[in-house]
C-alpha cells in the first residue's frame, strides 16, 4: 500500500477488535494512514466506521489490538492519551455544550490545570485563533444560536486548538446542505496543505472523489481494502467493495443509498420515479397558509400551504432546522397554529388535539424513534398497544393477555424479530424497533402517514423494508408525507418533492428530479 518507509504512518493500527456484547463492531482491523493527505474511510451504516473513529480518539476501548500515532503507541480507551498524541475527532453531532459561547467551547477543549481567564483575554485569544484559521465567527455567540455549518466550523476549530496532527471527521457532510459541503472540503484541503493528516468518514462515493486522496473501505466490521490512492481505482469498484460483490445488483434497484447511485456526479443527476401509478384526487391533508409564532430552535412556519392527496407520497426536502420539526409538531398539535388552517381528510382539525386527529387517520413516525416513537424501558406489547389504549376510556378495563396475543400476531406479520412481547423495546435493534413503530402506525385505518426521517440510522435491508411499506400504504390509498434530509431517498419514492427553507415552502419539484437544482433551492442560492 501507500505507506512510506521513511516516515512513520500518521495513524497505524494492528488487528483492532471491538465487540459490544454479542455484536462485533470491528473484527480485527489493520490499516496504515500515511502522514499528510486526506484519507477517506467509507462503508455502509453499521460497517464499523464510527466505532473505528471512536477507537482512534480514545472514546472506545478495543478488546485487542494496537494503535500508534506518528510511530508512538497509544494507550487504549484514554481520550487524554489520544489527544496528547495529536488525534482529534470531530463528532457527527458535535460535542459542544449548547449554552457555551464559541470562545468557551474552544477554551474548554484546552488541556490542563485550572486555567483562569478574564473575559477580554478569552475573547481576544479566541478571535485571534479563529482568524488564524480563516474563520469569521463572533466568539461571543452561543453554540445553540449558530447555524449548523458554523457549529461544525467551531467543532473543527475546537479540535485543532490542541495542535492536532491527525484530524478525524465523522460523517461531516451528513448534516450540511449541499452548498456548504464544498466550503467544508476547501477547509479540509487547507488543513492538509498545512500538514494535518485528515481522516474522513463518509458514506457517499461522489464526496470521496471530490476531496479524498486515498480511500479505504469497511464492510461487515472488516477492512476490505485500502488505503488505495484515488487514481488507482474507480467509483464502481469501490461501490462493489462497499456492497460486497454479488449482492450489489439484487439490492440497488430499490435503494437510493446504493453506491452506484451515490457515486453519480454532483451535477445533473436525473432519474425517474419507478412508479407511475396515478394519484387520486381526494386530499388527505391540506395545509392552508399555516403560520406559527411559538419560539423554538427553528424558524417559525411562514404561510405553509400544500396538500397531500390520497395515494401520493409527498417529500419534504430541506436542510435540517428549516422548520421540518415545527411542521411535524404542528401536525401533531404540539405547536399551535397562529393563523391558517389544517384540513385532514376534508375536515378542519386546526384546533383539535392529537387524539382527535389520530382517530381521523393521522399517523406519525416521529424523528427520534427512541425518544418520540418508543418507550425503551417499557414492554413491547405496551409500546404496540398504546395507540389503541389512548382512544379508550381511561377506566375501561383491558385484558393484558389478550393485548399481548394481538401484539404477537401483529409483530409476526411485520416480521419483527423478538423473543417475547414482555421484553423491553430497548432490546430491539434499530431496524426491528422501526418495524415495531410501523406495525403500530401503519394500519388499515391510517389515512395520512407523516414519516419523519424514517430510515435514519437503518441498514439497507431495514431501509428497503420501510420504503416498500410506504409504497404499499400509498397503493392502499394512504397519503404519505415524507420528511427527509436524504435527497436520494426522497427522489426514489416520492411523487412530488417540496423544499423547505426558513420555515417556508420555497419550491416544488416533480420527477425527473434534479439534485443540483433541489440542492440550490435548499440553500436559497439564486443561480
Amino acid at each position: 500500500m501507500a505507506t512510506s518507509s521513511s516516515r512513520p504512518s500518521a495513524l497505524s493500527c494492528r488487528n483492532i477488535r471491538v465487540a459490544f456484547g454479542e455484536v462485533t463492531a470491528l473484527a480485527g482491523i489493520s490499516v496504515d494512514f500515511p502522514t499528510g493527505g486526506i484519507h477517506a474511510v467509507v462503508g455502509q451504516n453499521g460497517a464499523g466506521k464510527t466505532t473505528f473513529a471512536r477507537v482512534a480518539a480514545g472514546l472506545v476501548k478495543p478488546d485487542a489490538g494496537e494503535l500508534s500515532i506518528n510511530g508512538r503507541n497509544l494507550r487504549f480507551g484514554s481520550v487524554a492519551s489520544a489527544r496528547k498524541a495529536g488525534v482529534e475527532l470531530v463528532h457527527q453531532n458535535f460535542a459542544l455544550p449548547p449554552s457555551f459561547t464559541v470562545a468557551e467551547a474552544i477554551e474548554f477543549s484546552l488541556d490542563g490545570e485550572i486555567g483562569l481567564f478574564s473575559r477580554r483575554q478569552l475573547l481576544e485569544r479566541c478571535r485571534e485563533y479563529l482568524n488564524s484559521l480563516g474563520m469569521d465567527i463572533d466568539p461571543r455567540r452561543r453554540i445553540r444560536e449558530l447555524p449548523i455549518e458554523l457549529q461544525q466550523a467551531v467543532e473543527i476549530a475546537r479540535a485543532l486548538v490542541t495542535k492536532a496532527t491527525v484530524l478525524i471527521l465523522d460523517e461531516p457532510t451528513a448534516v450540511l446542505p449541499p452548498t456548504s459541503i464544498e466550503s467544508l472540503f476547501d477547509r479540509i484541503r487547507t488543513l492538509r496543505d498545512n500538514g494535518v493528516t485528515v481522516i474522513l468518514i463518509l458514506h457517499k462515493i461522489r464526496e470521496v472523489w471530490a476531496v479524498a486522496d486515498t480511500v479505504s473501505v469497511l464492510r461487515n466490521s472488516r477492512l476490505v481494502a485500502g488505503p488505495i490512492a484515488r487514481e488507482e481505482t474507480d467509483p464502481d469498484r469501490i461501490g462493489n467493495l462497499i456492497m460486497g460483490v454479488g449482492n450489489h445488483d439484487s439490492i440497488s434497484h430499490n435503494n437510493g443509498k446504493s453506491p452506484t447511485r451515490a457515486a453519480e456526479p454532483l451535477s445533473g443527476a436525473r432519474r425517474e420515479t419507478a412508479t407511475a401509478q396515478p394519484v387520486s384526487l381526494d386530499t388527505v391533508l391540506e395545509m392552508k397558509e399555516v403560520c406559527t409564532s411559538v419560539r423554538t430552535d427553528e424558524p417559525c412556519l411562514n404561510r405553509i400551504s400544500f396538500e397531500v392527496r390520497s395515494g401520493e407520497i409527498v417529500g419534504i426536502a430541506g436542510v435540517e432546522g428549516n422548520g421540518q420539526l415545527t411542521l411535524v409538531q404542528v401536525l401533531s398539535d404540539f405547536v399551535a397554529v397562529s393563523s391558517g388552517e389544517i384540513d385532514l381528510c376534508g375536515a378542519q382539525v386546526t384546533g383539535l388535539d392529537l387524539a382527535h386527529r389520530r382517530s381521523q387517520g393521522l399517523r406519525i413516525i416521529p424523528f427520534d424513534r427512541n425518544r418520540e416513537g418508543l418507550s425503551l424501558t417499557s414492554e413491547l406489547w405496551k409500546n404496540w398497544s398504546v395507540r389503541d389504549l389512548v382512544l379508550r376510556p381511561p377506566l375501561g378495563l383491558v385484558n393484558p393477555s389478550k393485548l399481548r396475543a394481538r401484539c404477537a400476531e401483529s409483530l409476526a406479520e411485520w416480521g419483527v424479530r423478538y423473543n417475547s412481547t414482555t421484553q423491553n423495546a430497548g432490546s430491539l435493534s434499530g431496524g426491528n424497533a422501526q418495524k415495531l413503530i410501523l406495525a403500530r402506525e401503519v394500519d388499515n385505518t391510517a389515512r395520512l402517514i407523516v414519516a419523519a426521517q424514517p430510515t435514519r440510522g437503518l441498514d439497507i435491508g431495514a431501509t428497503a423494508f420501510v420504503w416498500s411499506t410506504m409504497r404499499k400504504a400509498r397503493k392502499r390509498g394512504c397519503g404519505v408525507l415524507l420528511i427527509s434530509s436524504d435527497l436520494d431517498e426522497l427522489f426514489d419514492i416520492s411523487q412530488r418533492v417540496l423544499v423547505m427553507l426558513s420555515g417556508r415552502i420555497v419550491s416544488e419539484f416533480a420527477p425527473p428530479f434534479d439534485i443540483a437544482k433541489t440542492g440550490r433551492a435548499m440553500t436559497g442560492s439564486r443561480n
Binding site: 392529537l354 398504546v386 381511561p394 393484558p400
Partner: protein, 344 residues
C-alpha cells in the same frame, strides 16, 4: 424467570446492604449491632403481640404507599405524602369536630371523604403547578410537607385545641368513642376492609385499565405518549389526585382509628416511609403488601428499641435512610459489563 427472580432479590439484597452499613454505624457509635438486629426482629414480629402492632403501622402505610406508587408510576415524584396525610387528617378532624352531635354512621364516612378530599387538594396544587407551568413537583411537594406541618401545629393549638391536653404536644380533642373505627391497637375489621378495598381497586387500576398502562408509559417516556395523542395532563393530574386522596385516607384512618385525635407533628416519618415501601415494592401494588408489613414491623420495633436494647429509636430512621440510599440503585453485574463500553 431470571428476570422475575431478580425483581424479588434486588430489593432484598439492597435491604441487606443497608442493614450491614447501619450495623457498622451502630458499632461505631458504641452499640451492639447484633443485639440491635435481634431486638428489631423481636419487636417487629417475634414478641407476643408484635404482629398485631406491626400490622397496626402497616395498614395506613400501605394505603399511602399505594398512592405514592401511583404517582411515581406516572413519572411524578410526589414526595409530599406526609403533607397530604396531615391535611387529610386535619380535614377529617374538622368534620368530626363540627358534627360531634351527629350519628357516627354519617360522620365517619363523611370524615373519611373529607380526609380524602383534603389530601387530594394538597396534591392538587403541586400537580397543577407542575402540569401548567413546569414547576418542579419535588420542591413544591417538599415545601408542602413543611407548610402542612405548620398548619397542623396551628390547628392543634388553635381551632381544634384540646384545652385539657398537657403542654408537651398540642393535640385536638379526642373523638367520642362512637366515632372510632378501631381501638388504639389499630387493627379492626373496618380498617382491614378499607385496606383490602384499596388494595383491590388499586391493583385493578394499575394492571387492568387503560389508565394504568398509559400512566406507566407516561412515567417512562411522556414524549412518546404525547406523540400517541395521550393526554399527559389528564393522566398526571389524576395520579396526583389519587395519591393525595390515598394519603388523606390514611390520615383520616389514623384519626378515626388508633389515634382518636390529631397531635402536632404526629407520625413525622409516615410519608417518607411510604415512599420507601413503594420503592422497595418496585411500585407494584401486590408487592407493597409485603413491603408495608416489613416497614410496619420496623416502625413498631422502633418503639421497642429503647426498652430492649437501650438504643434510640432514631436507629430505625437510620435504617430507613440507608435503605432509601440504595433502593433505587440500578447496579447489577450483568449490566455493568455491557455498559462498560456503551455502543455509540
Amino acid at each position: 424467570m431470571i428476570k422475575r427472580l431478580e425483581i424479588v432479590l434486588r430489593p432484598l439484597a439492597f435491604i441487606a446492604l443497608a442493614l450491614i452499613l447501619c450495623g457498622a454505624i451502630f458499632e461505631c457509635a458504641g452499640y451492639s449491632a447484633l443485639l440491635m438486629f435481634e431486638s428489631i426482629l423481636d419487636g417487629a414480629f417475634l414478641h407476643p403481640g408484635a404482629w398485631e402492632k406491626s400490622l397496626r403501622w402497616a395498614l395506613p402505610l400501605f394505603i399511602t404507599a399505594v398512592g405514592v406508587s401511583i404517582s411515581f408510576r406516572c413519572g411524578f415524584f410526589n414526595i409530599g405524602a406526609q403533607g397530604q396525610f396531615y391535611i387529610g387528617a386535619i380535614c377529617a378532624a374538622f368534620v368530626a369536630d363540627a358534627l360531634v352531635w351527629a350519628p357516627a354512621a354519617v360522620v365517619v364516612p363523611l370524615g373519611i371523604v373529607a380526609g380524602m378530599a383534603g389530601g387530594a387538594l394538597w396534591a392538587l396544587w403541586p400537580g397543577v403547578l407542575r402540569l401548567r407551568s413546569g414547576t418542579d413537583e419535588v420542591i413544591t411537594t417538599l415545601m408542602g410537607n413543611f407548610i402542612a406541618g405548620l398548619i397542623l401545629v396551628y390547628v392543634t393549638s388553635g381551632p381544634l385545641k384540646d384545652p385539657s391536653g398537657s403542654g408537651q404536644q398540642a393535640s385536638s380533642r379526642i373523638l367520642p368513642p362512637s366515632f372510632r373505627i378501631s381501638d388504639s391497637h389499630g387493627v379492626s375489621p373496618t380498617i382491614v376492609a378499607i385496606v383490602a378495598l384499596v388494595a383491590v381497586a388499586a391493583w385493578l387500576l394499575v394492571n387492568r385499565t387503560a389508565f394504568g398502562t398509559l400512566s406507566g408509559l407516561a412515567g417512562r417516556n411522556p414524549v412518546m405518549l404525547q406523540f400517541q395523542g395521550g393526554r399527559l395532563w389528564q393522566l398526571g393530574l389524576s395520579s396526583f389526585l389519587i395519591s393525595g386522596a390515598l394519603a388523606g385516607l390514611a390520615g383520616s384512618i389514623e384519626l378515626f382509628g388508633p389515634n382518636g385525635r390529631i397531635a402536632s407533628g404526629f407520625l413525622p416519618t409516615h410519608g417518607f416511609t411510604a415512599i420507601l415501601v413503594a420503592l422497595v415494592a418496585n411500585l407494584s401494588v401486590a408487592a407493597a403488601v409485603v413491603a408495608s408489613v416489613f416497614f410496619g414491623g420496623l416502625f413498631s420495633a422502633a418503639l421497642f428499641l429503647p426498652i430492649l436494647a437501650g438504643l434510640p429509636s432514631a436507629a430505625i430512621d437510620l435504617i430507613n435512610a440507608t435503605i432509601a440510599l440504595f433502593i433505587t440503585a440500578k447496579f447489577s453485574l450483568r449490566k455493568r459489563i455491557r455498559l462498560g463500553r456503551a455502543p455509540p
